[in-house]
Amino acid sequence: MSIAEMARAASGTTRGGAAERAAGARPAIRWLLLAVGLTAALAMPWVMYPPIAFDIACFALLAVSVDLLLGYTGLLSFGHAAFWGTAAYTATLVSLQTGAPFPLAVLAGMVAAAVLSVPIGYLAVKRTGIYFAMVTLAFAQMIFFLANQWRSVTGGENGLVGPARELFNMDLSDPFFFYYAGLPFILLGLLAAWRVVRSPFGRVLVAIRDNPSRARALGYPVHQYKLGVFVISASLAGLAGGLFAISHGFASLQEVYWTTSGKAVMIVVLGGMGTLWGSVIGAYLVVQLEYFLSDAGFEEIGIVTGSIFVLVVLLFRRGIWGTARHTLEKLQRRRE
């Protein structure tokens, strides 16, 4: 089974079948899910350490941006750390140099990520499948080396410490308050991803994922669509990365390292490819797990996350959300 088939099965974008027959019941479930999700997002800093809650929000958006490519276009980007990290450095630098309010600094980071994604995307969409993954990974490593080399700007291995957070003279240095200042931007990013998926543009992406030759034969410029979604995805990753850096008051080489790209992919696969909700749940689980492990003094996190990843890929390829949806649809079909 190909990635495309798996994503199709997981996201419920099957032709005909139970998904469409059950469409009548869908809007109600959608609104309910949205309400539950929003409540959870608003409640998080009350029930857990607020900086961790914001990390979850940032990684959820990063994973959603990766899923736009993997789940909805069939392209595995193993290089999103480049966009996340570039935005992290840019946002920190802008707020250091100009003292701009944090939304403007984050916007600058997002623009930097989008600009960087044009040449990388242009070159990467020339290849498909496994090559696309290797090419994006290699370009991200180039950005890592650049960040490591360009010490005068990035601070090299020491990283870059940002200024105190405030907005319109409000002190946001308390992570609890910053969570609520930053959350709207994360939600806007998630909304943008949802709009892309539901738009005619998004339907063409799914067509390209399922059958690129047919999409091309129907007259769609496949390369341009792929580049388009690549830039959108990189911008969202940049939005997440910029917010992450502002919330930590720090941008480091970790942000542009391949492990960050790998973490994003892992979140998507664990949550379920082609399911935006899955990425959000995956982000919650992975960030919480890493926090729990490092809190317990366990430093070799890769042993645990790597094992989970291996197990998911071997036994649980639909991911959490995909499996839940699949089970529900099977139950529904049996009832009919």
């Binding site: 090559y131 370009f139 042993i303």
Partner: protein
Amino acid sequence: MVDVTQQLFNGLVGGGFLAMLALGLAVIFGMLRVVNFAHGAFYMLGAFGAYLLLTEAGVNFWLALLIVPVGLAVVGMVLERAFVHRLTRLDPLYNFLLTFGLALILQDAVKSQYGTQSKPYSRPALLDGSLNLGLFEYPRYQVFVLVFALVVCVAVWLVLARTRVGMIIRAATERPELTRALGIDVGRWVTPVFGFGIGLAGLAGVLAAPMRAVHPAMGADLIITVFAVVVIGGLGSIFGAVVAGFAIGMVQALGNLYVPAASQILVFILMAVVLLWRPTGLFGREEVLT
């Protein structure tokens, strides 16, 4: 001039490592359509294997050069049977993800046992000192590594080009169904070929131990450079992988001399140029649009 030739020599030695790793990747990819992300981790295990054999059992470099690759090849075959095999009929991306997970596990497992500090490994006595190459003095060990890498690459090429086993592997690489239809049991060769590729990575690791720092992350960054090398050479082409490996090694060495600040990113710039000019790689063939 002496500087340039000496740097070119350094480049060939560094290229030897890239070529051996790229060769292993290409052989595995040809037979299984798997891009092995854990290749760098096995290179690291090769170096650690040599280090551990020396410190724990007193086994010298020459024996390690034999024992470690064979041992890792066996480990590779077990992994192929246990995990990789289950996913080969699916999209190749799944095995890429699987081996990524394995790489994380192996790297952090070694880190938890032996820490992040580099381990010393001295050169074998026979290869200590330097050799007069006419223009300059050059460490004996580096000369040995270069010759060894060339011999390995030529030997693999000879096996593939001249023997019956090589013929079967090449046929299975190009047209698996047709080869099977001719009555050849392709499946029988999958596991040994995977083990062989892993063994090559381990061999490169043992060779690296006396001249490069032995530490858990030594393979992780290198493997991404090797990915760029195989994108440049064309992953479907074994010849392309080897040639690109040596060429990139020399480009990096010349970069060290002329543009030291950019030497690490030259390979990626080169990859960008190749993608613009020949998206399938210098020696690659048109990929089938799936």
